[in-house]
Structure formats: C-alpha cells, structure tokens
Symmetry: C2
Subunit: 143 residues, 2 copies
DNA sequence: GTGGCTGCAAACATTTTGCATAACT
DNA sequence: AGTTATGCAAAATGTTTGCAGCCAC
C-alpha cells in the first residue's frame, strides 16, 4: 500500500520522490529496529540507491510526519528506526544474543496513567528499554 | 564519604588515582544527568583536570563497578551520566523547558515483574524515558 | 520554470584506541 | 620495581550541513 506515504507527503506540501519511496519500502520490508546503515543496504537490495545524507533527511522527515520513529536503545551505538505504529510498545534488548524484541501491551498505557496522574506530566512519547537476557539465552546458559 | 570509591576500586584490584577521585567528586556535586563535557567542566571547577579519553575510561570503569550509570535520553545528543543509586528510577524529559526530572517509585519494579513473568525475560537494567511536557510548562501554555 | 530534493564532500560531535610517560601500590 | 592508569594525538563512528545540479510539481 504505497498510498499512505504519498498521501501524507502531499498533505504536508512535500514532494513524492524516488528515494523517499525506496526508504519507505525498505522500512516496510524489515522487521523494525534497523540502523541507518541497514536501511541503506535494504534500499540497495531493492535495486535502488540512496545517499547517507538524504537517508538521514528522509528519516527525519518521516519522523516529523509521524511515519517513523527512532529510538536509541540504551547501549552505545546508533539510532534504530522503525515504522511508527499506533500501538504503544517497548523493547527487550538481550545483552547476550543482541536480539531486540518488540512487545505491545498494556504496560505502556499503565506508565502513561501513572506519570500523568501522579506527576502531572503530559506524556508525549514513552520509551521503555529493558536490558537483560532473553528466555532463549537463559536456557542456553544452563545447559 | 570518599570511602566507597576507594573501597570499591581496591576490592576489584584497581588503583585509586587522582583523576578517578576527581570524577567521583564531580559526580557527587551535580544533580545527575550530566554529559561528559559537563563532568569535565565540573572537574575543572574543582581545580582538577582530566583528559577526555581518561574521563571516558573512568566512567566506563565506574559503570562496570556499579558506581555510575549512563543513559541516552531518547533524543539526539550525548550520553548522560549519573551516580548509581540503589533505587530503580525513571526519567521525565520535558520537551519544552528541557528539564530532566528523576523519579523513584514502584513503577520500575512493576515493569520488571511484568517482563519477567509474561516474557521470561531476565531484566538487568530498565530504562524508562518519558518525553512530554512537565506540569509547569502545561500551566505556562494555558496562561 | 521554479523551488524543493538529492548527491557529493566536507564538517561536526561523540567516543575509542595506540603508545610513551607518569604514578599508584 | 612493576604495572596500571594517564595524557596526547589520531582514528573510528554516527550524524549534520553547504552547495551545485536535478526533478517533481
């Protein structure tokens, strides 16, 4: 469904270009939580090409339009991008296998209620990152 | 109490040096959530001096020893360091005034239970960053 | 045709690393 | 004395910016 990108871009007076479409498709393809580098590779795999600078600009635009989201997972390295989904979610980062799991649940809604109720804080975006060891790696450690 | 630093360092076979003491004192001084640059300035203010590379190495060591913690607050820029406190806590980042509030509560413990119970995930460190507008800025917007 | 968008290259900021010297134990 | 930690400089990494030409509108 290419419609959403085109519609959103035009609605805000931005142009629909080949690079933007390519990035959009690349984001759809993968399973989220990709670095800029990975997205560039993904774009290349589709047969397109995009310059790093343009990629950053495109992602920044997507974020501004609410089409994508970036999160810096607790650790050191680079920002990771994913398509924006309506549901609130949180990340489980396994320190051992490096896997990043993506969970949707009521947890984030509970957090929102808590900070709004107890602290009078208008929560806009909630980023929850849990570092630890996933179920698989715990088993592996025992065996 | 300078004892904690000395004790912890020696307990792990590390040396007690002037730069390490200076960084430790600088961390005690400020109110947490400082960038490497700010810590360096803080060290200089005490009358000491430390090279950036050493500062990074020192902070990495402190983290390894459980004396300090780093967090990349959702946004763009650099990592922010603070002393490790036993209590779990979370951050409220106001997008308007830029203030970073630091809250302790049962919330983080609840999160831990949730991911361990429902997802079999052994939570090691939980980083919760809430972006939004603080109570003060909400009032300011109304008036 | 025109102004926004892209690609290229260079700048920037943050963090890491190699190595000779200094300092803790 | 024997190492470990430091400072300096240089590199690595991730991201941003200036600008001439191109392309969607």
């Amino acid at each position: 469904m290419e419609g959403e990108l085109d519609r959103t871009l035009r609605a805000h007076g931005h142009r629909v270009t080949q690079p933007r479409r390519a990035v959009w498709r690349a984001l759809q393809a993968g399973s989220g939580h990709r670095t800029v580098d990975e997205i560039a590779t993904s774009v290349a795999a589709i047969g397109d090409e995009i310059d790093t600078a343009s990629l950053y600009r495109t992602l920044a635009l997507f974020e501004e339009l609410g089409l994508a989201r970036v999160s810096r997972l607790g650790d050191r390295d680079a920002g990771r991008w994913e398509l924006a989904h309506p549901d609130e979610h949180f990340h489980l980062v396994c320190q051992q296998c490096g896997d990043v799991d993506h969970h949707v649940g009521t947890l984030v809604a509970q957090i929102r209620e808590h900070v709004e109720g107890d602290h009078g804080f208008a929560a806009d975006q909630i980023e929850l990152v849990v570092n630890g060891r996933c179920a698989g790696c715990q088993q592996a450690a025992v065996s």
